[in-house]
């Protein structure tokens, strides 16, 4: 049987591979190459072109589909991957709403799935369906904790919150509120805005009127620069905090000098070259950075792409274990792969070190976050505070 799979249409890149004598492992990827979350999906799609096509002497076939950040499309993609292509694992999607919908498909088809979206709800609370689901990015809780700790240390007594009017903003608000309370920090104002808003003057005036010591902006990508620029324009002189959603070069480009001094938690990948030599993440993250920037240009790296790479690292570590018990393309192999993923211990990837357990399918610890500040338009690693 000879068959050519056109895996990637991006920039005419074609991943073609005649099938060898042995059945290859097929991995289906559904990500948001277009639509509102395209700034997450595009680096992820780019990353897939860098991934190895062979692990432990076993060919791997990557099948990439675009779900346009749309839940219906994502579910259709996943069903197609599971039933037509008979994939051994699904990677995706880039955003939380789509990933939540994919849980159903993964559990039904009994295919292990690794989500590239942030929300903890994708893997918790653990149940019969979520048994099949793993997650590469950090939980918001891990990041929120770091922010609250940093604020307490910096002597912040009250905080103004400006967040996206969607799941991202909601998630952050619900994670940060109890953590601020625990540290005795008051949430002085809670304002919302939309990714597509062209003006946030109203929200900013309200936050300034509450006179908080610091402002936390919970947005992702370049739209998170707008509230900060408006705050600066209106003369707000307190501290600025952002979330790990802004960790790409475009945020620095759009934010310009107005975002200097901002503090945010991020995955270690963002400041890989500044990590101490002793940090195990450093080497993996630098290798990925080099490979990515060699192909897509210097400074093009976004931490979101790293999650796709990390999903591959998890799979590459689990596949040899699963191969011992079953052949690729069979239900037994998929079950074995799931068990192998759950049994991963001390696996180093670009965003930290992972130890999965039956109840924790993210498996990260403090090594999956660093505090970063922006200095002269560059990310700067802050000395460890946790």
């Amino acid at each position: 049987m000879r068959r050519i799979v056109w895996a990637l249409a991006l920039a005419g890149t074609v991943l073609a591979g005649p099938v060898m004598a042995q059945q290859p492992i097929k991995i289906g990827v559904t990500i948001a190459k277009t639509g509102p979350a395209a700034s997450l999906g595009i680096p992820q799609a780019n990353t897939v072109t860098l991934l190895p096509t062979e692990v432990a002497g076993q060919k791997i076939e990557w099948i990439v589909l675009d779900d346009a950040s749309d839940t219906t499309k994502g579910v259709a993609n996943a069903r197609k991957l599971a039933s037509d292509d008979k994939v051994d694992a699904i990677v995706g999607s880039s955003v939380t709403p789509v990933s939540l919908a994919l849980i159903e498909v993964a559990a039904e088809a009994k295919v292990p799935m690794i989500s590239l979206a942030a929300s903890a709800k994708i893997v918790a609370p653990m149940d019969d369906k979520r048994r099949w689901v793993f997650k590469a990015p950090q939980n918001d809780a891990l990041m929120a904790e770091a922010i609250a700790a940093h604020m307490a240390k910096a002597g912040v007594k009250s905080v103004g919150f400006i967040g996206f009017n969607d799941a991202y903003g909601d998630g952050w608000l619900s994670e940060i509120t109890p953590r601020l309370e625990a540290k005795g920090i008051k949430l002085a104002a809670t304002e919302r805005y939309a990714r597509t808003d062209t003006s946030v003057t109203g929200q900013v005036l309200k936050v300034i009127a509450a006179k908080p010591d610091a402002v936390l902006i919970a947005g992702s990508g370049t739209p998170a620069a707008l509230p900060q620029k408006t705050l600066k324009e209106r003369g707000y002189a307190g501290k600025y905090y952002q979330t790990h959603g802004v960790a790409n070069a475009d945020f620095l480009r759009v934010g310009g000098k107005d975002v200097d001094g901002t503090v945010l938690p991020a995955g270690p990948l963002l400041v890989a070259e500044q990590l101490p030599e002793s940090n195990p993440v450093r080497k993996v993250a630098l290798d990925y950075t080099k490979a990515y920037e060699a192909k897509f240009g210097a400074g093009s790296l976004a931490t979101f792409g790293g999650h796709a790479y990390d999903a591959q690292v998890l799979l590459a570590n689990a596949i040899p274990v699963a191969l011992k018990t079953a052949k690729p393309g069979t239900p037994e192999f998929r079950a074995a792969l799931r068990d192998a993923l759950e049994g991963l211990k001390e696996v180093v990837y670009t965003h930290g070190v992972v130890a999965m357990t039956p109840t924790d399918h993210v498996g990260q610890d403090d090594r999956a976050r660093v505090m970063v500040t922006i200095e002269n338009g560059r990310w700067k690693l802050m000395p460890a505070t946790n």
């Binding site: 003006s199 109203g202 370049t222």
Partner: protein, 345 residues
């Protein structure tokens, strides 16, 4: 809310309202002449802003290849339209208009872009790149449907909007851009700080309103457009080509859209899909103005801007809900006041 905050909100609302007013004006213009509700108007705004931003960065904007492609499509559409009396002169005219013009613009852009010729030249170049797209779009997507119902035209319009948004993502990428302001100056006025940028925006909006009024009341071409709007068949009998009128109004709309983009780019980050929401708010204003009156649409746009600004202060989570709900009482009032019309045509 104290008086200072209210003033600040009003100022913000008026500045945003000026952009909505520009959109509303072009929507009214296109609708009255061609009966098309121009949903892609927002895309012209995004294209204008992003084109300026890439010229600012010294790179060739993605709209240049798009312009060449659209021109080629328009050339084919023109030839197909005139297939029964296609001669050398017609071919030459189409070739000049659809192929040579974008070609010349592309060469100029290609030569000038890496030299970063300064803001005024870049703005001019942006307008020259985006404006012809309006006419090309009309030739490709709307002229073949000129006799269709408003609903069919609306569906075509949605299709064009989706296509242009997708092309925007391809040519400009998912991340947004900002440009430096037209003027760094600012003037203190009581508790307010009026920026030169906002004066530019309000001034240009007023200038365009006056220019449109002069154009429609003082020039032959403008009167021909009004005539087409009032009675297509009658205008045709008087020797006015409806397709020319349509093409002209689309070009004017694209020009106004690109100009709005240039004006809004320094105030906010513009993305490939930013245009839709701006366009929608302009549409709300145009609807309040009855899709017929320029001054009413401009006033309504100002109102939309102010409602939006106050709503984002009072209840930021419900801002869009409040803005778009404002249309309901107006529609109710309009439908109660006017006699029921059975059919639109």
């Amino acid at each position: 809310m104290d008086a200072t905050i209210l003033l600040l909100l009003l100022q913000d609302g008026v500045v945003n309202g000026a952009i909505y007013a520009l959109i509303a004006l072009s929507l009214v213009l296109v609708f009255t002449v061609t009966r098309v509700i121009l949903i892609p108007q927002g895309e012209f705004v995004a294209y204008g802003a992003l084109t300026l931003a890439s010229l600012e960065a010294g790179t060739l904007p993605g709209t240049v290849p798009l312009l060449l492609g659209l021109g080629a499509c328009a050339f084919l559409a023109d030839c197909a339209e005139a297939r029964h009396n296609l001669d050398g002169r017609a071919l030459l005219r189409f070739g000049l208009r659809d192929l040579a013009l974008p070609g010349v613009v592309a060469v100029i852009a290609w030569l000038l872009a890496p030299t970063k010729p300064g803001l005024p030249v870049e703005i001019l170049l942006t307008l020259v790149i985006v404006t012809p797209m309006g006419g090309f779009l009309h030739a490709v997507a709307f002229r073949p449907l000129a006799h269709a119902s408003v609903l069919v035209l609306l569906i075509a319009s949605v299709g064009v909007h989706l296509a242009l948004t997708g092309l925007g993502l391809v040519f400009f990428g998912a991340e947004g851009s900002r440009t430096p302001p037209l003027s760094e100056a600012s003037f203190p006025a009581g508790p307010l700080l009026v920026s030169g940028q906002s004066l530019w925006m309000i001034g240009l909006t007023l200038a365009i309103i006056v220019a449109l009024w002069l154009f429609f009341s003082r020039t032959l071409l403008g009167k021909a457009l009004i005539a087409t709007a009032v009675n297509r068949l009658g205008a045709r009998l008087m020797g006015i080509a409806p397709s020319l009128a349509g093409r002209l109004s689309f070009s004017v709309a694209a020009f106004i859209g690109a100009l709005s983009g240039v004006l809004i780019a320094p105030l906010t980050t513009v993305y490939y899909d930013t245009g839709f929401l701006i366009g929608l708010k302009g549409f709300v204003a145009a609807i309040i103005g009855g899709l017929a009156s320029y001054p009413a649409a401009a006033a309504a746009a100002l109102l939309v801007g102010i409602i939006e600004s106050v709503a984002s202060f009072e209840a930021s989570a419900f801002k869009e809900v409040i803005v778009f709900m404002a249309i309901i009482p107006v529609l109710l009032w309009r439908s109660l006041r006017s006699a029921p019309v059975e059919d639109e045509e």
